[in-house]
Amino acid sequence: MIESCCIVRRALSGWVACLFALSISGCGTLISGTHERVHLSLSPPGTQLEVYHWTGEKLAGPGTSPGELQVHRPVWNEPYLVRAFKDGHCPQYWLTSSRPSGGAWTYLWMLFIPALGPLAIAATASLVDASTGGCCAMSPDRYDASLQADNACMP
C-alpha cells in the first residue's frame, strides 16, 4: 500500500514538472518577441548600420542614424557582425554577443525554486526560447560611436 502510494506520488510530481515545463516554455518569446530594436545614435548623422551573420548573409539593415533598426533576436545565442559606414568616413565593425532578454529573466528565477524540480525543467523550458531567439538579446544593442574621416584610415 505504501509502495503504491509512493509510485502515485512520483508519477504525479513527474506530471506536475512536465506541465510546468510546458506551461512556461516560450515565455521569453511571448514577452520579448522574436525581434528587437537596436538604437542608432552614430555620428555623423546619416551613418548607416548593417547586421550580418558570420557566414556573410545580411540579417538586417541598412538602418540610418539617428534612429532604430529591427533585428531578429539571436537564435541559439548566435553572435552577429555589425558594420557602420558612411561615404568619406572609416567604417566601424563590432562582433556581438548574447544576453538574456527581459522576457527570459521574468521566468528564469522560477526555475531555481527547489520545490519546482530539477534543473532539467529549466533546460526543457528554455529550448523553445533558444530556438526562436526569444531568450536572448544582442549585446551591444545601442550604437553611439563616431566614425572618423576618410584620411584617418589610410592603409
Binding site: 557566414t55 556573410g56 545565442n77 557582425l81 565593425y93 556581438t96 548574447s98 534543473l119 592603409p155
Partner: protein
C-alpha cells in the same frame, strides 16, 4: 537533501563540461569580395596569441581560451576592417551552429573611386 543530491552532480558535470570546452577554437576568416585581404591579429587580452598572427584570406586562425584580439583586414581598394574578436564570441558561434570550426565572412567597404582621375586619357 534529495534535491541537493541531484543538483550537485549536475553542477559538477557542468563545471567539468565547461573545463573541457576551454580549448583553442579554429576560425575560418574570409572576405566575400574576390580580392584577397591581409589579416593581422594583435593580442590585447590573455596569454596566448592567435596563430598565425598574419595571413591572407581565406585562412584559418587558432584562437586560445580567455583571449581577446584586435583583427585588422586590409585589401587594395577597400577601407580597413578593424574589430575586437573574443574567444567567447567564437565559442558562441560554434555552439549556435553545432560546428567545431567557426566561420567569419567580413564584408569590407569599398573606397570611392578617385574623382577626376584622368590617367590613361590622352
Amino acid at each position: 537533501m534529495h534535491a541537493i543530491g541531484r543538483v550537485l552532480p549536475a553542477l559538477t558535470l557542468l563545471v567539468l563540461f565547461q573545463a573541457g570546452c576551454m580549448k583553442p577554437i579554429h576560425l575560418d576568416i574570409s572576405v566575400p569580395q574576390a580580392e584577397q585581404a591581409t589579416v593581422d591579429l594583435h593580442l590585447i587580452k590573455g596569454d596566448a596569441a592567435p596563430k598565425p598572427e598574419r595571413c591572407g584570406t581565406p585562412c584559418t586562425i587558432e584562437i586560445a581560451p580567455k583571449t581577446t584580439s584586435q583583427v585588422t583586414l586590409r585589401a587594395t581598394g577597400y577601407y580597413p576592417a578593424v574589430f575586437e574578436l573574443k574567444y567567447q564570441n567564437v565559442l558562441e558561434f560554434t555552439g549556435a551552429k553545432g560546428k567545431k570550426t567557426a566561420t567569419l565572412v567580413v564584408p569590407m567597404q569599398k573606397r570611392p573611386e578617385p574623382a577626376g582621375d584622368t590617367s590613361g586619357v590622352p
